[in-house]
Each structure stands twice: as structure tokens, then as C-alpha cells.
Amino acid sequence: MSSPPPPPSGKGRPRGSGGFAWRAFFHHSTTPVFVLGKSRRLRYANPAWEVLTGVKLAEALGMVCSQRRHSTPLAAALAPTPESLAGRPDRARRPAPPGRNGPPWWDVTFAPLAGADSLFGIVGFVAVVGEPVPAAARKIPPGVASLRDRRTAHFSTELLAGESLASTRLVAQVRLAAGMFAPVWIVGEPGSGKETVARVIHHTSALRDRAFVGIDCTGLQPYLIESLLFGHGGLGVSDRVGTVYLKEPGAMPRDLQQRLADHFTEHAGTRLVCGSERAAPDSVAAGGLVPVFQTALSVFELRVPPLRDRLDDIPRIATRLLNRAIDPAALAVLRVHTWPSNLRELAEVLYESAAASATGAILREHLPHELRVKAGLTRTPSPKSLNLDAILEAVEKRVIQLALKKANNNQTEAAELLGVFRTKLWRRLDVLGIPAPPQPKPRKTDDKE
């Protein structure tokens, strides 16, 4: 590599800086460094950056680094994360331009510089990770490539980020898991999003150019799982698979568990991620899991918090799921519920509410009745009395009134209709408090004949 060009003299040495020339300082570094202004425009990059990107600084100066659709791959790779734009240091793994998938990847570290009242600028450092894979291993059906890119963009850590402390911790754990190759055991309540977390780990790790294979061990019979992984042309030995996610591995027979454990401890090329309601030691102690899953295949345990521990995230999750506005009053109702089925239940409620309101914002009235009752917005009707005497009296009263109506208030005819003596009908009228109806006048008979 040729020696770096001489630093520009007299530049990067502001008054009162004690003579320190920051541009010259960065110029001699072999770490690619770049500086963005507060509007995300490229203000400076050192020669190492020019060598890495193959772009001259003069050509790239002023480039807006963002991940919009029209952005170049280089601008997208250098785009600061929302975290860094909020003033917090952050790191992101990006495909090395001009590729849309890695490896190699760029691990870009963003160090924000705070101004008097807002962000002043960002200093970025680039580290290259991962070896380029041979073209044969990268071969995927072209029709799938664009869909995979969309999924990669969808399953980012942004998907898990939220306002609550629990989600902040989750994102930090996911980043840690993505940065290593060790097997991961994800623990979480039903519906808390364990598989989504596994996908985010996969799509932010160095294995993301290969496939994520999710296997539902509770829904597929053991011979189907065996055939999928170890059958003729099975995925177990394929170099196209990056991560295998086992959903509740304890549901498989122990011999298949052992076979899978042997396979994943011997073949290091594919990463194993398991998701379960229980921690691996608990499952092993209960006898549902072979011990090797505890000793070798749950190196990194990651806990997904239940939704009730991150109620502050509900507005963000709801907006993301529906892409529609939600009335603050409706959000207040959603925060009252404890969500025993977690995100699965929340999604179900939100989709039902969206179906109830075809357009516009989702209001409190569109939420299910049970949630509104729980929030104290609707009173439950008091349970009706089941007193038998009272019910029978009411029925008797109604039947007598009906018979009188049919008999045109003639008590004799009514008694006949009811199959009782007239005296009994009088007594029941008195007891039940039915006013004795005026008797019809006797019909005039024409005796002129």
C-alpha cells in the first residue's frame, strides 16, 4: 500500500486548540475514519477510508449518508443509526458496498458529538469483518434475493427497540448474541416473540447471508424433522443454512434430541438457536431434555421479557403492527391489561380492532369489550337472580295475562283456557297482583225471531 498523502497543512487546527491538528492526526491512522455533519453530510474522511471504499474524498464530500431508497450502497453503509442520532454511541453491522449482502461486513462505530443544544456531528470508524464467501455458496434464487433484503431490513434491532428498560436490555443482549457464534437459548413466555428475537440475531449476525431455518418441534412429527435435516439432500449438512432455530426442542424424542446435539456439536458451520418457555437446566432437570443441550448448546441464555414488563413499548409496537394511528385513550386501555399471551394476544386484539374500524384512527370503542371492562369503562351487568319461586311466579303471571287477553278479559273463558276453576283464577289474580279486568258486557241476544 502506498504511503498516505501528506495532510493538508493549516487545516483542522482551530484557534485555542493548542496546536493540535486533528485532520493530520486522522490522516496517519490506518483505521478508516469519517466525520458527518449534523445533517448527515460527509465532512471528512481519511486516506484509509478512501482505500477501503475506493472513493476519493473530494468526490464524496457532501454526500448525505442515509438509508433511504435512493441512497447509494456507500451512503447506506455509513448512515448513522437512530441511536447515534439521539446522541448515544452505537455500532451497526452493514454489508460492505457495493454488495447488498455480506460477508464481508463493515462494523461501523458511530461516536456522536453533542453541540450546545443538539447534535453537532458524528465521528465514524469502520472495521471490516468476515471473509468473502465463494460465489457458489452465495447462490440463491434471484427471485428470492430482493425478498430476503426486505426481510433483513425488517428483522433489525429496531424491531425490538422500545422505550422500556426491559426492551433496551433485550436489544443489548441481542447485539451481544449476534456478535458471537455460540449457541443461544432463548427463554420467554408463550407469545413473547422468541422466534422474532432469533431472526433478529440471525439477520444482524455474520451468518445473515445464509438461510434461517425455523423448526417447530411441537408441530412436526419427529420423522419430518429428521427428514428435513438428515434425509436425502437434508439441510443439516447444507452450507446454505446459517442458523437453525428449534422451537421447544424438549418436545422431540430424546433420541432425536441426542442426534441433533451430536450434529451441532460436530458441525460448527451452522449456528443453533433454541427457544423455550423454560431455561435449559430446568428442562434437563425435568427430564424433558438431554443434558448436552444444557452443557454445550445453551452457552448464551437470553431472556425475552413478557409484555407486561414493557407496557411502555405498546404504542410503538401497535403503530408498527397496524401502521395506523391509535387514539391515546385506546392506548391507555391497552396498558391496563396484563397480556398473559403477550405479543400474540396484543396482535390479535389490534387486528380485531382494526377490522372494527375500517378507516381512521383506532378509538377506545373499537377495542374488545373485555378490555374496556377491565379498564373500568363499561359496567358489567349484574347477574340475574335464579330464585325459582320468583321465576315461576313471573311465568304464571305472564301466562294468566296472555290467557285473559286471548279470552277478551272474560275470566270464565280464561280459566277454561288455563284448565283451572274460575275460583282458582280469582285467587291467583289476587296473589299475583293482577288487576281484575273489567268484564265484558254480556252480549245482547236478538229475540225477535
Partner: protein, 172 residues
């Protein structure tokens, strides 16, 4: 409480015919769709328990693949089974299986297809999905006196049920 629902997205009805007996026995509500847009609205509005999609493994016909990707992103709890009637060589089959799993399918099936295996895949995933969603299947009408139905064979034994359209085309 919703009934177990099966949505089948295909072009000519052969998957629905293969699954008709099982669907009737299990009393599933079956909805069929020929277009990706209709299927997506079914997924969004009806929230099915399982989706079976016939995939055309051609780059110029990505509708089924787009449906799979969108459906699994929108409803990660709804298992999707991809079924193809295109016979592939080993390398392409592995490649497509990996790609389909990456898009979110729970199982991918290629010729030679057998009815028992397809039934096992769909019934197993349906059972797991309905348990997760708390849906009770309306089939518990048997009395203790009635003989229990024979368990389904785990492996595809009868060769008569093999649907190998690629071979059919060769014979024509």
C-alpha cells in the same frame, strides 16, 4: 372462539383435493384462493391457523414467494407450508428449501409428494397452532365406547398416493 382455519393458495385445486378428507374429518374451515392479493386479505382479516401455498419456482412468478414473506412477517404465529409440483435436482431442491425456510415457511415439500406426509405436516402444524391460539377444534364428539381411529402411519407407505406431476408430464 374461532374455528381452526386452513387457507390454501393454489392454481388448480389439487392440494385442496389431497387435503379434503383430512379437513372434513377434522372439521376445519377451509378457504381457497387463487390470487396472492386475495390470500393476503384472508390472512390479514381472517387470521387462519395454517396456510398452504403452492409455489412456482420461477423468478418471473414471485407472487407466491411474496405472499409467504409478507404473511410470515405479518402473522409470525401462522405456520406456512410451501408445496411445489416442480421436480428439481438435489442441488436446486436444497437451495429452494433453504430459501423458502428463510422466507419463513415451516415446511417445504417437493415431488414426489405423498398424501400421508402432506396430511401429517398440515395436521401437526394445525394442532400446534390451534393449541397456541387457544382454539378448540370441534371434533370431540367421540364417546368412550367408540373404537379409537387407527393412528396415521408415520411414513408414506402406499405408492398409489404418490403425486408426481413431473413424471406424468414425461409420460404424456
Amino acid at each position: 372462539m374461532r374455528a381452526p382455519q386452513l387457507v390454501i393458495v393454489e392454481t388448480d385445486g389439487w392440494i385442496a383435493r389431497l387435503l379434503s378428507e383430512l379437513s372434513a374429518e377434522s372439521k376445519w374451515l377451509v378457504r381457497a384462493s387463487r390470487s396472492g392479493d386475495n390470500a393476503m386479505s384472508l390472512v390479514r382479516d381472517r387470521r387462519p391457523s395454517v396456510i398452504v401455498v403452492q409455489v412456482e419456482l420461477a423468478d418471473d412468478k414471485p407472487a407466491a414467494l411474496t405472499l409467504i414473506s409478507d404473511a410470515t412477517r405479518l402473522c409470525p404465529d401462522v405456520p406456512v407450508v410451501a408445496v411445489s409440483d416442480v421436480k428439481l435436482n438435489d442441488g436446486d431442491r436444497i437451495s429452494w428449501t433453504a430459501a423458502l425456510f428463510d422466507l419463513g415457511v415451516r415446511y417445504a415439500m417437493f415431488p414426489p409428494l405423498t398424501r400421508p406426509v402432506l396430511e401429517d405436516v398440515v395436521s401437526g402444524l394445525m394442532g400446534a397452532a390451534t393449541r397456541r391460539a387457544g382454539i378448540v377444534a370441534p371434533v370431540a364428539t367421540s364417546t368412550p365406547d367408540k373404537p379409537k381411529p387407527k393412528p396415521r402411519p408415520n411414513r408414506a407407505a402406499p405408492t398409489d398416493d404418490v403425486i408426481d406431476l413431473a413424471d406424468d408430464e414425461l409420460h404424456e
